[in-house]
């Protein structure tokens, strides 16, 4: 009861922040509001007992996204001009897509029901084994780092490689810009 009241309060604030993001024309304010949105969303996820997802949401949404969006604003400019075109078709597409997504959730089992299919497959085995084999007390950590250790290793390798690639690309561009700037400076002097 208390938990659902807190959840209602947080979700109301989330909706208000979303409306403010849509109405805001200053893109810098949008970035700050998006960070606030992520922190509120992380709190909602803590309420539904998904602390690891909440940590990911906070680090990606409020940490990395803020920095990346600010870097983008530094390149593009921070003012959004109101659109001159009518936005009826995009509104229609968004409404249909949202309706389809909501319709798709109806056959899913209710949140937190223990007898649903996803809790009957391998989850009991994982819970039992993580208790028996002295694995980390957090079952999520046990599943990610132990039962599916190779899977996690592959995922981290992919993300690490992607990160190195992006850094190499950006670094090369920056060095080229710098060299161009230097030669231009010599030419004028």
């Amino acid at each position: 009861m208390t938990i659902s009241l807190i959840q209602m309060a947080l979700l109301t604030m989330l909706a208000a922040v979303t409306v403010a993001i849509i109405r805001q024309r200053n893109l810098f304010g949008v970035v700050i509001l998006a960070g606030i949105y992520s922190f509120l969303m992380a709190s909602v996820m803590i309420l539904i007992d998904a602390v690891d997802v909440a940590m990911t949401e906070a680090s990606v949404g409020a940490g990395i996204s803020t920095v990346v969006l600010l870097a983008t604003i530094a390149l593009t400019g921070s003012k959004e001009y109101p659109s001159v075109r009518r936005s009826l078709v995009p509104l229609f597409v968004a409404a249909v897509t949202g309706g389809a997504l909501i319709w798709g959730t109806f056959p899913l089992p209710r949140f937190g029901v223990q007898e649903s299919a996803i809790h009957m497959h391998v989850a009991p085995e994982y819970l039992q084994h993580s208790k028996d084999h002295k694995m980390p007390p957090n079952v999520v950590t046990a599943v990610l780092g132990d039962f599916r250790g190779y899977d996690t290793l592959g995922e981290t390798t992919v993300i690490f490689t992607a990160g190195i690639g992006v850094m190499l690309l950006l670094r090369g561009r920056r060095r080229r810009l710098k060299e161009n700037g230097k030669s231009a400076g010599k030419g004028t002097a």
């Binding site: 970035v31 606030i36 922190f39 920095v67 870097a71």
Partner: protein, 91 residues
């Protein structure tokens, strides 16, 4: 007691979020964003005790570090107009 704490944090969150939405200047918004991070840490802590399972209290440390990085990026953007600015590289 923890319910009272949660309500207090929620009221503070409401004030901060309304300042972020209404805030006439950008600095109101930056301050509100930073305060939201702090209040998220407080909410995380008090919710753990409210549920009787305060094991995830140390995740608050991660939130604190993230908050610092975000605010630093915002302020650096304001000071130099570029978050990749390096003083030694320019000189």
């Amino acid at each position: 007691m923890f319910i009272a704490g949660t309500v207090a944090v929620l009221v503070a969150l409401l004030l901060v979020v309304s300042r972020a939405i209404l805030g006439p200047t950008v600095f109101d918004r930056v301050l509100a964003g930073n305060s939201t991070g702090t209040l998220a840490i407080l909410l995380l802590a008090v919710l753990g005790f409210l549920n009787g399972r305060p094991e995830w209290l140390d995740i608050g440390l991660t939130y604190g570090l993230l908050n610092l990085i975000g605010t630093l990026a915002v302020l650096k953007f304001f000071r130099y107009g570029d978050i990749a600015y390096d003083e030694e590289e320019r000189s």
